[in-house]
């Protein structure tokens, strides 16, 4: 039941009124994802560098702030280090720069999409996108519902894990990791059961 900072990763939407916030979802998606595909296809480091720098500019211009832009890339630090080392040795600096810069640019650009679109809109977009699946017998509305359920379950799961850690600490016992994780998974299945019942009770069969 408790929030930690890790839960926020799914609610990354930042309210605002910039052009990115206001433009229709389909347009935004086509432009941003098109840029990603282009970067991956061209594979030249100056292009990647330009795109990367542009993502910073757009981020600042849309009121998202440079600090948030940097923070979204920090988890990649370790990976970037490994990639630079390997490609410097194996393939030379140009290739290293291209690999790293295109990775960073693409991550930064996709992040622009989810920080400027509220989650419900994003899910509506996914539902529209899934319309062709109707022919395969998949109901797009159900896909949207599943995504919402998944996102609302993540903070709950973090809470369960930290609760069990506390319980073990409070008893000053050291159960093996398996002993500790088993109750968490069982609680998870129980939670899924209750969620299923709530869905049924609310007529969302």
């Amino acid at each position: 039941m408790r929030r930690s900072r890790a839960d926020d990763l799914l609610g990354t939407y930042v309210p605002g009124t910039s052009i990115l916030h206001r433009s229709p979802l389909w347009l935004k998606t086509v432009v941003l994802l098109g840029a990603c595909v282009a970067i991956m296809a061209v594979r030249a480091w100056p292009v990647s560098l330009a795109a990367f720098a542009l993502s910073a500019v757009v981020s600042a211009a849309c009121g998202l702030g440079l600090r948030r832009w940097v923070r979204s890339l920090r988890p990649l630090l370790l990976l970037v280090g490994v990639l630079i080392l390997y490609h410097l040795v194996a393939n030379g600096p140009a290739r290293a720069a291209d690999v790293v810069l295109s990775l960073l640019a693409v991550v930064a650009i996709t992040r622009l999409l989810i920080t400027t679109t509220p989650l419900p809109r994003l899910i509506d977009g996914l539902v529209t996108l899934c319309a062709p699946l109707r022919r395969l017998g998949v109901d797009p509305e159900r896909v949207g519902l599943a995504v919402s359920l998944m996102i609302r379950s993540v903070p709950w799961l973090f809470g369960v894990l930290s609760g069990l850690r506390d319980a073990a600490a409070a008893r000053t016992v050291r159960p093996s990791p398996v002993q500790l994780v088993t109750p968490a998974v069982i609680a998870t299945v129980d939670y899924a059961h209750r969620t299923g019942e709530a869905l049924a009770a609310r007529g969302l069969e």
């Binding site: 990976l79 991550v107 650009i109 992040r111 599943a146 995504v147 709950w156 894990l161 998974v185 299923g196």
Partner: protein, 210 residues
């Protein structure tokens, strides 16, 4: 009894909730610190623990759906892949083979695991004298075997993925992949131990008792 009756054609609300919650479980496991290893920086993660657990507990159909949901949400840009990454960029990255293998591995593990859970139960019904045969280790071993099948599938797809996206030779890709094997074996065993306890607590997860 409390679970709404299962219909094999459609996704019931009970199935939907399980799919969503296990996709979320895989997210949470993926967000535990990942350790990049090898030349390409594909990390050691707990995602495969999520894949094996989901398969063993939900079975093939729901297991596939749960992991497909996870991969789709990640591809859409929500940062749920290893190291808080998200977006279609991973399709061109070295871990693409592993990621795309997840739904299929879960389905494979699920098919094998649920079959052995049901067989175990039939054996018990048929007059086994032991009070709780599921505790005696037999099921742990068969579930571990099911996870091994999933392990092989995801590693094969992972190797192919590294060869295609990073241009590695088969040899180099195999060597890179080898670094993940010990960890994944441990995760498979852990998943089997946990899944046995779960099936003990929720006997209906593997479908009607025959």
């Amino acid at each position: 009894m409390t679970a709404p009756a299962r219909d094999t054609r459609t996704v019931t609300s009970f199935d939907l909730a399980n799919i969503a919650v296990f996709a979320a479980l895989t997210c949470v496991l993926a967000l535990a610190p990942a350790i990049p290893v090898g030349a390409l920086g594909v990390p050691i993660t707990l995602q495969t623990l999520g894949v094996y657990l989901t398969g063993m507990i939900l079975g093939s159909r729901r297991g596939f759906a749960a992991l497909a949901l996870y991969v789709i949400v990640g591809l859409l840009g929500v940062p749920v892949f290893a190291g808080f990454v998200g977006g279609p960029a991973v399709l061109g990255g070295p871990s693409v083979g592993y990621l795309l293998s997840f739904p299929f591995a879960a389905a494979l593990v699920g098919a094998l695991a649920h079959r052995s859970v049901r067989a175990e139960r039939v054996r018990r019904r048929a007059g086994s004298t032991s009070a709780a045969p599921e505790r005696r280790g037999g099921l742990v071993i068969t579930l571990f075997g099911a996870a091994l099948a999933g392990l092989v599938l995801s590693h094969v797809m992972g190797i192919v993925g590294m060869m295609l996206t990073a241009g590695l030779s088969l040899r180099a890709a195999l060597l890179t992949d080898l670094a993940f094997v010990p960890g994944d074996l441990v995760k498979a065993l852990v998943a089997a131990l946990i899944a046995v306890a779960v099936h003990r607590a929720f006997p209906r997860m593997a479908g009607a008792v025959l």
